[in-house]
Every structure is written in C-alpha cells, then in structure tokens.
C-alpha cells in the first residue's frame, strides 16, 4: 500500500474498555503504528480530521445525537469497523431495551429526565452499514490483530462462526459445566480462543451468538442445569438482548 491508511477511533455509549484495550497492545503497538496514521482519537490525542480510510467505533447508539454522529462518521470513512460488544450487537446496554424506555429514563435521571433524550441502545449495524466487527467485551485483542492485518493486506477478514466449545476442545479445557458452572459457550461465537473458560470462568456470551443458534435447545440446557426459564433468557440477553428481541 503506497500511503498509510488514515485511521480514526470513536466512542459512543460504552465503558471505553475496548479503546483502552487497544492501547494495551504493548508488544504490537509499534508494529501497528508502522502501518497506519492515526488521525483522530479522543482518548489519546487532540487532532481532528475530515476523512478517514478506517474508522473504529466503540459503543452503542443510545441518544439522537449518537445517530447524527455515526451518520457523519459513516460519510467520512471508507471502512467502518464496530469495536466490541456494544457496537457490534448492542451489548450490555441492550438490556435497557427489555424495559419500558420511560421507566428507564425515570430510574436513571429522576426529575431531570426531560433534559436527557434517550433511545433504545442500538448496535451500529442497526443504523449504518458496518463493514467488519471485532467482537467481545472488551473487544478481543487477537481478533483485532487479525482484522488489522487483513485490512493492511487488503483482504476481507474472516469472522468466526463456530461455538466457543470448539476453542475449549482444541485447548483441552475442562468443561466449566464439570465445575458446576453455567456457560453460554455452546451458542456463543468463538474467536476469543476461549479466554474465559481457559482460566476457569464461564462464558457470558459477550461475543454474540453463532448464526442460526438453536435457542430452545440452549434454553433446555440452561434449565437442566438449574436456571428457571426466565433466568436462562436473562443470561442469554446479557449481551444479546437486541439479537434476541422476540425470540423468547
């Protein structure tokens, strides 16, 4: 590539953990910077730019202002990458959408609620065209690196579409169900190298669901391991409320 791609990084409704995760590439940060020019990044610099080749966007869209801004970013960028669970599938913020929006406003802002217009928390793809996803909460570093090298090489990144169980079996992890935990690995999209189960933690489903998940089958598994039907769905909805709307 003759000129380095100009990269911008933006945040919407989220904890900014994904961006911090980006700064955390201690071993690879210099290699990454060798390939790109970062032209806008509120968390790390003051400059602003008019156009970008790649925009990395973190967070979900939850106010009218967010919608205006994301449309603006989409117009300015050639490639838009959703970064992390909030941006990819609405994430934790999506839980808000399972409740009445007026009640949510009341609960959060009290009598000032009319000062803060709010929308259901939306994934980026629900408003603009998203080219690629880096999933996870926070976004999965190894997946970010794969996407990054793909973009530098000018090839489409491969998005994994198999369950976390596969990665656990490849690593010969003891199944966390054996430890009495309840895990969403069987229907959650892999690509994280089964990070959590590898350290004895159950999968919370932060990377979203596989394509065509068998949800009633998963509900059965969760209920069989002691959850009520309601608890089972709440567990599934933790990161996937938007994708599961109407699925119960």
């Amino acid at each position: 590539m003759a000129e380095k791609p100009r990269v911008a990084i933006f945040d919407f409704t989220g904890c900014e953990g994904c961006e911090l995760n980006q700064l955390n590439f201690e071993d690879q940060l210099l290699d990454i910077l060798a390939h790109v020019d970062i032209v806008e990044w509120r968390e790390a610099m003051d400059d602003r730019a008019a156009e970008y080749d790649i925009a990395f966007v973190e967070g979900s869209l939850s106010t009218p202002d967010c919608i205006t801004r994301i449309n603006d970013i989409r117009r300015r960028t050639k490639v838009l990458v959703a970064l992390g669970a909030c941006a990819v599938q609405g994430g934790i913020n999506g839980m808000k959408n399972t409740q009445a929006i007026e009640e949510v406003r009341e609960e959060v802002y009290g009598e000032d609620k009319y000062l803060f217009p709010t929308l259901p928390a939306l994934a980026l793809h629900e408003v603009v065209k998203v080219d690629y996803n880096v999933r996870g909460c926070p976004m999965t570093q190894i997946e970010f690196l794969k996407l990054f090298t793909s973009l530098v090489m000018g090839k489409q990144p491969i998005e994994p579409d198999h369950a976390v169980c596969v990665d656990c079996k490849l690593k010969e992890n003891e199944c966390v169900y054996e430890r009495g935990m309840i895990c969403l690995g069987p229907v959650t999209r892999a690509g994280c190298d089964a990070q959590c189960p590898s350290v004895g933690q159950y999968c919370t489903g932060c990377r979203g669901l596989v394509t065509n998940p068998n949800l009633s089958g998963m509900e059965e598994i969760l209920v069989e391991h002691g959850l009520s039907v309601d608890e089972a769905w709440k567990r599934l909805e933790l990161y996937n409320a938007n994708d599961l709307e109407g699925a119960r």
Partner: protein, 340 residues
C-alpha cells in the same frame, strides 16, 4: 506370552524406569474431575485409574493446531514445516483409544498418504491399561474389550492393588529389562461389565443405517442439539480439519495453520458465495453417525466408533450416541416385523 505382577506401589518406579529410556506420555489429572495425556515430569503424577481422558492420544499425531508451512510475504515464498516422529512411550492408554489410533492410521494412509501424520506416528510405543466401564463406555458393543491388548507392546490389567503386566512384543521385552517383577501365572481377571450396549452386533449396523436415512430421530435430536461441535472435537476417530492463514502483525510473514474442524459445525460445508450444503442440524447429526457406523465401515468392515463414550459424556445437551443408534435399531426391527 510372559506375565508379571506389578504392585501399585511400584508404579512410580516403573514409570521412572520407562522414563530412563524414552519420553513417557501418560494420563494426569486436570481441573476438578478431568484427565489428560501429558509428558510425564514426575512419575507419581501419573494416573492409571481414570474413566477417560478429555482428548485421546490423537492430539499428539494430529495436533489440534499445526503449522503446515511458513511464508514470507515480501518474497512470496514458503518453506514447509518439517515434523518429527513422536518417539515416546504412551503409558496407560485404554484399548478403545489404541483402536482409534489404528482407525486414524487407515485414514491417513489410504489414498494419498499424509506425511505429517505418518511421520509423527513413527516410533510410538504403547503400554495399555484396562479400564472399568463407566456409564458412558460402550466399546464392548464395537468388539473392543476393556482388557483388549491389541496394538500394545505391554498391557496392564488391574488386579486388586496392582496390575497383571503382559509383554506382547520384543519392544515390550526391551522396555522391562532391568525392572524386576514377580512372575504371574494366574491369568488375567475379567474386568467390569458395560452399562451401555448397542443392541445388535456391529456387523448389522451398516444395514440398519441404510434403512434409517429418513428416521425421525435426526430431527428429534436436532431439537436438542445446539451444533456446538463438541462431539466431533472430542471423538478419537474424527480427523476432519480446516486450514487458515495466520499473518504476523508486521504483515511480512506468517504461517499456514491447520486445525481440527467438525461436520456438526454449520460452516463446515459452506462454499464460497455462502451456500451451506448441510444446513440442517438433523442432516449434520445423521452425517456424524453415518460416518461412525456406515460410510467408512462399508469399505473397511469396521465401525469407526470405538465406544469411548466421549461424545455423549461431553455433550452439553446430553445427546447419547448409543441412544440414537439403539433407537434406529428398534425402529428398524419394528419396521421389519410390522404388517405391510
């Protein structure tokens, strides 16, 4: 054949004796309830009394992830990655896992023999151990007994507080040289009974499968199955794989990597453009079961399931392979006797 008695207390000494000759790979405890084959560092960490390891010893010959070649992107050149024989003693292998290696040997020898697998397979020495069938084992139904020494250089059969040690090959004789054990001449004890059975001899299964293509059990199983692929990935005779490119963050070099794959996964049959040729979970279940009891078996005369019970034990939805097969058998029996 010579038999000795190996007292359980002398097991660490026996392991140390083997370690003095070659690398020893044996079962170890892992996690809270599980077991895994690892290279032995401390003889007393070896566990010979275990129900099953999470992954069979296939993982040494066909690693879960394996570099096939390395490439240089600036030069557009590559070098194949050379592999070495696993010159080790596999201690404490159950009969069904030895049988499974034999099945894989066939798959990687037939047609186009595969260098990486066959190179790794050179030099392995097998010291088998009998097992007590638990509620998942059913290898007896595919003609593999818990005390079957086939393929082993040495075989250990549990007897009270020790093992009857049988030497089956000249390699085995060499291995025990210098390790004194009392001779044993009371034969071998029969090991425990299986709690799970396939109802008919395995020789009839292919014919029953033939009649079961449209059985309701596939769709019914698909309601429970979440398509996670666990059954494929823990199966000691599954060998399907995919190949991906791993590029270094400098974008100047990388490697081509193969990793285990499974026919229960949706993307397995996907072609460029997005068409998925085995989209339904029912069709995928049928393919899995037919691969174990019909497709390869029609050519080789042997079931490609060795009855270890891993797929059932590890399935989050508790789908039982024996349950599916027996259902096909009973439906077939009813279909045969039912009035037309």
């Amino acid at each position: 054949m010579v038999q000795f008695y190996l007292d359980a207390e002398r097991l660490p000494a026996f392991v140390a004796h083997l370690m003095a000759q070659k690398t020893v790979i044996a079962p170890h405890a892992k996690g809270q309830k599980s077991f895994t084959f690892e290279t032995v560092a401390e003889p007393d960490q070896v566990v010979l009394d275990y129900p099953r390891v999470m992954q069979s010893i296939r993982k040494f010959f066909l690693p879960p992830k394996e570099e096939l070649l390395t490439f240089d992107l600036t030069e557009n050149s590559y070098e194949t990655t050379e592999v070495e024989p696993i010159d080790a003693i596999f201690l404490g292998v159950h009969s069904y896992d030895v049988a499974a290696v034999g099945r894989l040997d066939y798959n990687f020898s037939v047609g186009s023999p595969e260098k990486n697998y066959l190179t790794r397979r050179q030099g392995a020495v097998f010291v088998g151990v009998s097992f007590v069938p638990d509620s998942y084992h059913f290898s007896g139904s595919v003609n593999i007994r818990p005390e079957d020494p086939t393929g082993c250089d040495i075989f250990l059969t549990k007897l009270f507080e020790g093992y009857v040690l049988e030497v089956h090959t000249p390699t085995g004789e060499e291995l025990i040289k210098g390790f004194d054990m009392p001779a044993h001449d009371a034969g071998r004890p029969a090991t425990g009974h299986f709690q799970q059975h396939i109802y008919v001899p395995q020789t009839r299964l292919s014919e029953i499968m033939e009649q079961s293509y449209d059985n309701d059990v596939w769709a019914e199983t698909a309601e429970q199955c979440v398509g996670c692929g666990t059954c494929n990935l823990v199966c000691p005779t599954c060998y399907c794989f995919n190949v991906d490119e791993a590029v270094d963050v400098t974008v100047t070099k990388g490697h081509r990597e193969r990793h285990w794959d499974g026919c229960m996964l949706r993307k397995f049959s996907e072609v460029a453009g997005g068409e998925v040729f085995r989209e339904s979970l029912a069709g995928r279940q049928r393919h899995r079961i037919f691969r174990k009891f019909k497709y390869i078996s029609d050519t080789t005369g042997q079931p490609w399931c060795v009855g270890c019970g891993r797929c059932t034990a590890a399935c989050p939805a508790h789908i039982s392979i024996v349950g599916i097969v027996n259902r096909l058998i009973s439906d077939h029996a009813q279909a045969v006797v039912a009035p037309i």
